[in-house]
Structure formats: C-alpha cells, structure tokens
C-alpha cells in the first residue's frame, strides 16, 4: 500500500455542559465525547475531515497507541501521509458517538446524577443527535466548516445527515456503502439482533451492570447474525465452503463446519468487549434514520437543503445496503443539480468491503479528495 500509517496517536476527551435536546424528546444535560485527531489543522481551519463510525466503530480511526502497538485504528488503511485521507494535507477527526461504549457518554458510562452506570436510563439517540453533538465538537476545535464529512454504512448516513442539518458546514460529503433509510429487511435483521439481547436472562432490563453480569449470549448471537449480513454469499463460499473442522460429520451440535467456527469466534470476540446497550442504541439509530421523513418521504426535497459536493460509493456484493440504495441518494442529488459522483465498486467482501484496502476503491476516494480546494 502506498503511504504510511499515522503512527502513534493519543485519544482526547471533551466535556460538554450545554444540554443536548434529543430527537426522542429527551435531554442529555451534559456529556463527554472522546476523539482523536491526525494531521495538523491549518491556519484557515479549512482542511478538517470528520470520519464518522459505523455500528461498532469508535474514535480510534487510525494509528496505534504507544503502549498498545497491536491496537490499530479501524480505518488505518485509508488514513496517513500519502494515503487517501492524507494527513500531510488534511486534519482528520474521529470520535466515539454518544451512546457508544469506547469512552464517550453512553449506557455503560457513569450517570453523574446517580453515580451509577446509565444502563437503561441512557436516552435513545438518533443520527441527527450525533450530528448536533459532532457540531459542538467542531465548534470546540474551531472548525467552522468541514472540508469533508465521510463515513461508511451508518457512518455514511451521518455524513448525509450532516449535509442536510448543517449545509453551510459541509463542503464535501463522502457517503460509502450507505442508504437513505433502512428497508423492512434491514429493520427485521436489527430486531432479531435486539431480541437476542433483550431476551437474554442476563440483560436485566438493561441494568446488568448492577448485577455484575453482561448479556454475552444475546450479544454474541446479535453479532453472529449481523456478521452474516456484512459478508457476501460468494465470499463465504470461497472462504469456508462446506469445509469441516474434522474430516467426518459428528452428528452433534458442536462446531463442525468452518463457517460455524468463524461466526462463533467473531461473536465471542465481539461480546467480550462491546456493550449490549450500545448495540441496541446503534441499531435503533439505524432503524430511525430517514431524513426524508421531514419531507413526507421525498428525498429530493430533503437533499435540496444540502449544499455540499458529494461522492457516493457502493459495492457490487453489498446486499445489506446494495448499490440500488446508494443510487436513490444519487438520484435525489442529481434532481437538485448538486455536484455528485458515484462509483460502484466491484469488491467481493459484501458490506464489509468499505473497510477493505483495494487500489481502485482507495483510488476513487484519493482522486476525489485531491481535488478538494482548501
């Protein structure tokens, strides 16, 4: 891969005292956001890019920590000197969204008014709430307008929402592997995942922290299900086929097929560190996402409010948010005469393709970003 990693990074924390009025009608009186930055903010403060994370992401986008060299950021392959998000040109900001479990205020963090974890008391947050909280972080950093807001999947939805909510503050929006709203099938998958968590006896109505336990079985199932939807059928076929761990059938219910082994491993790993309440919140944020709701479902009318230039990218093997879903966004932008480019990238990794390193995919992002005038 051309370019280099950003190397050693540190995370920072910002505290916000101004209450945040939420989409749900609730209010967060105060909150913390953890974030990381890479590169240098220029004197005009015109070179900042906000990278929004997807369901299970966080603020550690790139680089590694001095004391944890193996803890590499989730989108490290695209950030760094000479990489598409070139830190020689841009100032990159990544944060952990509200409701997250990586340091920003969320269900597993301490509610200052009770001294206990928020648990079920943490309000449900919507994508637009994240955008408002991110705007306050931008204010704190002195960033009047972003050179670009970008993200994949749920991160792409935040970029889209930014362009609608704060049209003056987004010069470019890069929306990868996203959709303007979830389909019934998308919501159905999310609900099965939530049911796995909600029906786990260790869930305790979301207040499992007080019981010194975690609904790991439910969270594990939720992740296994989710993981299937991130991969393509072809890729699973190539990677696992019908391979068995042992040569013969065992006629039992233990792990037999390689794909079972892989999924269980992924489920266990995820359930080991992720917070179940955060998983519930993130999936609800996905389900509720539909900016066109403000315009009776007319996305063209909604996108009329945006002023940004757009790069929309989708992946041919992504069946969770298929190319057709990205093209709905493209059509709404074209109908408004917005500057938009659309790339349909042929990669075999399903929805997860957006995290992969691929010369053409990264070339497209790189070419787009290099044309941004600061």
């Amino acid at each position: 891969m051309p370019g280099q990693s950003v190397g050693v990074v540190e995370s920072q924390r910002a505290h916000f005292d101004q209450p945040l009025h939420l989409r749900s009608g609730g209010i967060l009186p105060a909150y913390d956001l953890v974030f990381e930055t890479y590169g240098t903010l220029n004197a005009a403060k015109s070179n900042a890019i906000l990278v929004c994370h997807a369901l299970s992401g966080h603020h550690h986008v790139a680089g590694h920590y001095a004391d944890q060299p193996e803890n590499v950021g989730w989108w490290d392959n695209i950030v760094g000197p000479g990489r598409p998000l070139d830190t020689d040109k841009f100032f990159i900001v990544g944060l952990n969204n509200l409701g997250g479990c990586h340091g920003s205020s969320g269900p597993s963090s301490i509610n200052p008014s009770t001294g206990k974890p928020w648990g079920a008391e943490f309000p449900i947050v919507a994508v637009n709430d994240w955008v408002h909280s991110q705007a306050r972080l931008a204010d704190r950093l002195g960033i009047e307008s972003w050179a670009a807001v970008m993200g994949g999947s749920l991160g792409g939805m935040q970029a889209l929402r930014w362009s609608i909510t704060y049209p003056e503050r987004v010069r470019n929006a890069i929306v990868v592997a996203a959709a303007p709203k979830l389909s019934a099938q998308n919501i159905a998958f999310n609900d099965v995942a939530r049911q796995a968590i909600l029906t786990d006896p260790d869930f305790h109505g979301g207040n499992y922290y007080e019981y010194n336990t975690r609904p790991v079985r439910g969270l594990r199932l939720a992740r296994m299900l989710g993981h299937i939807t991130y991969l393509s059928d072809d890729q699973m076929g190539e990677k696992f086929g019908r391979d068995l761990r042992n040569s013969a059938f065992s006629f039992g219910f233990d792990v037999e097929f390689e794909v079972e082994s892989y999924l269980r491993y992924q489920g266990d790993k995820f359930a080991g560190y992720f917070d179940a309440n955060t998983y519930l919140l993130m999936t609800k944020a996905l389900d509720y996402f539909d900016p066109s709701r403000e315009d009776n479902g007319n996305l063209t009318a909604t996108m009329a409010r945006s002023k940004a230039n757009f790069l929309i990218a989708s992946f041919t093997t992504d069946w969770r948010f298929s190319p057709a879903r990205s093209k709905e966004i493209v059509a709404a932008l074209l109908a408004n005469g917005r500057n938009v480019s659309y790339a349909e990238i042929d990669l075999n990794f399903g929805h997860d393709s957006f995290l992969m390193e691929d010369a053409h995919y990264h070339g497209v992002i790189d070419a787009y970003l290099r044309n941004i005038k600061l």
């Binding site: 074209l334 500057n339 349909e344």
Partner: protein, 199 residues
C-alpha cells in the same frame, strides 16, 4: 469509449451547446469532453461511464461522473433534466439502440449523437477486399471491438424516422475531421446529429 482531446467532433458538439447549459455525456470516458465544455462553454455537466478506470480518471479530472450501464437506462435522471444529452461514438456499442435514444430524449431536451459510418467508402473497400474495416474512427480489430451495432447514416436516419425523432442538424466528417457536404453516406467517416422529439 474514451474521448481524446482535439477530436474533431468535440468542437462541433461544443459549438451546438450554449454557455450555462446542462449537459449529460453518456459514455463520458475520462471526462475530457465535459471538461472542455465546462472550461470553454461554462456548462454544468454530468457524465455516465461504465468502466472503472474511466470513472477514476473522470473523478481525477474533477468531473461529476455516475458509474452505470447505459443498457439499463437512465433511471437516476429525472425527465428533461438536461438541455443536451451527448452520446459520442458510443451508440454503436449499445445493444438497446432504441431504448437509449428514447431515454436520451426523456432526460434531455436535445440529443447529440455521433457515430462511425460503416458505409464510409474506405470501410466498404476494406470489406470488398475481404477484411473488416479498421480506421481512425473504427480503431479496433473485429475480435477486440466494443462495437455491437453496425450501421450507416441512412440506417440511422431511417430509425429516427421510425421513432419520430426530428433531425435538427447533421454534420459529417471525413477521416481527417474535415466537413463532408456531398455524398455523405459514402464520403463521411463520422456523423454527428442533433435530435429532438415532437412536443
């Protein structure tokens, strides 16, 4: 097909397009024609392109490009969204000829279509000599050609008549890019048409 700068049909097409017009270039290649039109005529342009390398090149050129397959129509574009829809040296590569022509005039007020004339005398002579033609405007061997439709000026005009399309203007060029005014179906290597529909 890839546009190359300095192509004779570029200037012709540019001459038909008013400053500030909205232009859709189908099969825009690396975006050279749109770039030319944006810089020289101040148009607002969008391209459609199927090939990965061309999409990348067009983005690099700062052109709005939508990756897509012309055979599947132009669903993402609204009715009458453009003043001109350009299909430059691409019609012969499209299987759904009537489909793309009517889509062009659905999304645009005017269609600009250029294509190589298979009845050009050198092409005819080549076939008489027993070989498929290879020329400036047909720069492919039969086995690597993207062309799937082989037609002449007369064929195209007959199709326009059948579809009720109005030919507003026609320019025919020889292999050197010089205008041809007589015996066009025999002496012309490349034809450029402006088409509209009855309203």
């Amino acid at each position: 097909m890839t546009h190359t700068l300095g192509r004779p049909d570029f200037e012709l097409i540019a001459g038909w397009i008013e400053p500030g017009h909205r232009v859709l270039d189908l099969g825009c290649g690396d975006g050279s024609l749109l770039k030319h039109l944006i810089e020289q005529r101040g148009v607002k342009g969008v391209g459609v392109e199927i090939d990965d390398a061309n999409v990348l090149a067009a983005i690099r050129n700062g052109i709005n490009v939508i990756q897509g397959n012309l055979e599947r129509g132009l669903d993402e574009f609204a009715d009458q969204a453009f003043d001109h829809v350009v299909l430059s040296r691409t019609l012969q590569t499209v299987r759904h000829t009537e489909g793309i022509l009517s889509e062009m005039l659905r999304v645009g007020r005017e269609a600009v279509v250029s294509f190589p004339n298979f009845a050009y005398w050198k092409n005819l002579r080549s076939v008489l000599d027993g070989r498929m033609p290879v020329s400036e405007d047909l720069p492919y061997q039969w086995y690597d050609s993207p062309n799937v439709r082989f037609f002449t000026l007369l064929d195209f005009e007959a199709l326009c008549a059948k579809m009720g399309l109005i030919i507003r203007e026609r320019s025919v060029l020889d292999e050197e890019g010089k205008p041809v005014t007589s015996e066009v179906n025999f002496l012309g290597s490349l034809a450029v048409y402006r088409l509209t529909q009855h309203r």
